[in-house]
Symmetry: none
Subunit: 419 residues, 2 copies
């Protein structure tokens, strides 16, 4: 089966926006057994869109377009595709009712422009948009005259905003694919690790994986801030067993550093473990500036185990909210083992939590010194057994530093909770 | 001038890696006056690469490929392109010397595999790789038989790793482009707004922009969480004036809602304004869970004006750290105007800041009720003149809700500071 993606958006071609649709859709499709063969991005220009869709339809069994379904003048996809396929646009009452309900729910009058969104190509399947107004559309083109063999193809049009596209794909496109395309055998498993570098991960596992690679296992490594993914894929008969055997090899070697699988995020695993252990957590964040709290509170239900945190960005806040001694700050500085220790102990006591973590460091670009260079970070973990402190050096840019330090704190807590 | 990008890499098609080359190269090229018309991604598969390069060469004046130049078995680009153009691969002594020096510098023996990197298509320009071994390559194809008009095209091949590709583009490709392609005039300006929806933004400005559109102005709208970008572009003679005039029109109509330009983030603008006004800020975050603090502390130098925040995710934390009355919590609930007000006042007092903002709401998916549905949020702003509260309904998924609420809080503070 041949799948192609067509991403439209002038902002993509100007390099103003990162194309996250490609990765997200490729990944979801691969997980369903369909590896995308080609992805194309073009501007919101009629000629380019028409040509890209026509070419994709000349090759693919499934074409997915993203973007260009909204109400503004640069949203051209719906109309162009209707014309290309010789279909009229007809008003759809369900879409109209849905859009009216959407604006009523948001307490806003419906802008007149949204009317164009209620017109859909004759005969198209309509996916109502649970997070916006523009519906998704799907059409079976049968026969597909753009193909030399005239076989049928499916054309699926999805709205551009990720928060609209993603749930729509899962809720509406996945069932369509399962119905229309018999699953092909393709197995992909990602083991997510933390606390080891990318080349060390590879060095540790590659020899033991070699026999499976000869049998068709493909191994990929991907470094993320504070984490490394090991990706195992195989296809065809026996794929499932080859990937499962590969997973067992990696598990045996890296087990303690594997925090999750596939789409697991370390913060989800930590919230889950806290729930299972019925323990609560508080935070005292300095250099991560609320990033750990932000990531934890992205997990639905986090409020059951996360009591709160203090973003103690000033020395006064460290003293006032966490009870850090002025003497410790003066003697050791805010970025020190002693202050990290007091921050964690203070947060645990004031919030009355089972665990508390504190992070203090130098995110840069300024503020470094010879003995405490930019990237220095102290992380403390307070529990009923006392307070422990670890020191790391994360010599990255500011944003990566914050992300890596947050992951290090979460990984330490995860290891503690799993022990 | 027609520019196309061809990105190769199986990891891209499996969705395991984000294609950052597209954004980076599109942006750099746009800044040089060359807007990319089409970008294609394909796997490391001979047939797909050959077909994509052939198609690009049939249309474009400049084709840039990324990836596939390394020493391993899935690096196919160099050989395939040589074959496609009927060129022999010949050993290049400069590349050999460069690679030998590279390994000597790293105190490692040169792997035998790297020999393939020393072979380049006959007549190709070679860009030595300052951060790796595989050289970049450029070829002028004259005449280009893949084009109907047989005009010449340039084909540039760059290595895949961003830390190799980016400096090579700046050091070697930019001079080539400046030499070979007279700079075309292309002007792009993005005005970033907050507090108005996408269709309303267009409704407000489109009529007044119409005369400029007739003169060649292109207008694009892009919705982000809590923000809408208006992008003005033009090319050719007079482009600068057309875009400047367009900017003046949008400024006049949306002025109060424009928080920045091009790459400005609202949190950068807020930190900048606080610095200019010499004012300090504290936060009391409930439903945003530290996201506002996280975004503010992404800005270098934020510590000069941001004193800190409390992530008061539990009622106990609201009472203890912010002095919210137990009675208010009992009478009105944690998500209420009264509690938002007390949180902001408490944060301002305890941190001793000039301004304090509080955010309390229902992020979902659970926790909603008929009179306080998921998405309800109260935002309070405390200053020397008292405390004001606004209510919003952000009926989005949890992550978007947090992002939108954070932007609403930052936008309110921005407006207050700019007033």
């Amino acid at each position: 089966m041949n799948v192609e993606l067509v991403n439209t958006g002038s902002e993509l071609m100007l390099g103003r926006v990162l194309n996250t649709h490609q990765q997200w859709l490729c990944r979801r499709l691969a997980d369903l057994g369909h590896v995308v063969t080609r992805q194309v991005a073009i501007a919101d220009a009629a000629r380019d869109i028409r040509e890209a869709v026509r070419e994709a339809l000349s090759r693919a069994d499934l074409v997915i377009t993203t973007g260009g379904l909204g109400p503004t003048s640069d949203d051209l996809t719906r109309e162009l595709i209707a014309k290309l396929l010789g279909k009229k646009l007809v008003e759809n009452k369900n879409v109209l009712a849905h859009i009216e309900k959407f604006f009523a729910k948001h307490n806003r009058p419906r802008p007149a422009k949204t009317s164009v969104e209620t017109f859909v190509p004759e005969g198209a399947l309509v996916f109502l948009n649970q997070n916006g107004t523009a519906p998704g559309l799907a059409m079976k083109i049968e026969p597909n005259h753009f193909r030399a063999d005239k076989k049928s193809s499916w054309l699926v049009m999805l709205p551009g905003p990720p928060r609209e596209l993603r749930p729509m794909f899962d809720d509406s496109v996945v069932p369509l694919l399962k119905r229309e395309f018999a699953d092909e055998i393709f197995v992909c498993r990602t083991l997510r690790t933390s606390g080891i570098g990318e080349s060390s991960v590879q060095e540790k596992v590659e020899n033991d994986l070699q026999p499976l690679v000869k049998m068709g296992l493909e191994v990929g490594y991907c470094a993320r801030p504070g984490a490394v993914d090991v990706r195992l894929t195989a296809s065809g008969a026996g794929a499932e067993k080859i990937v499962r055997d590969g997973e067992a090899v990696v598990q045996k070697i890296l087990g303690a550093n594997i925090f999750g699988f596939d789409d697991d995020e370390i913060e989800q695993v930590v919230v889950q473990l806290l729930m299972e252990c019925k323990k609560t957590l508080a935070l005292a964040e300095s250099c991560t500036g609320g990033n750990v709290a932000h990531r934890l509170t992205n997990v639905p239900g986090a409020s059951e185990v996360f009591l709160g945190g203090v973003v103690s960005y000033s020395n006064a806040a460290k003293e006032k909210f966490l009870g850090v001694c002025a003497e410790s700050l003066a003697a050791h500085g805010a970025v020190s083992e002693a202050v990290a220790r007091e921050m964690a102990a203070g947060a645990r006591e004031k919030f009355g939590s089972d665990f508390a973590m504190a992070i203090t460091g130098i995110a840069g670009p300024g503020g470094g010194s010879p003995d405490k260079p930019v990237g220095t970070v102290f992380i403390a973990l307070a529990s009923s057994t006392g307070v422990a402190v670890k020191k790391f050096l994360n010599a990255w840019d500011r944003a990566t530093f914050k992300e890596v330090a947050a992951t290090q704190a979460l990984e330490w807590l995860r290891q503690t909770l799993s022990a």
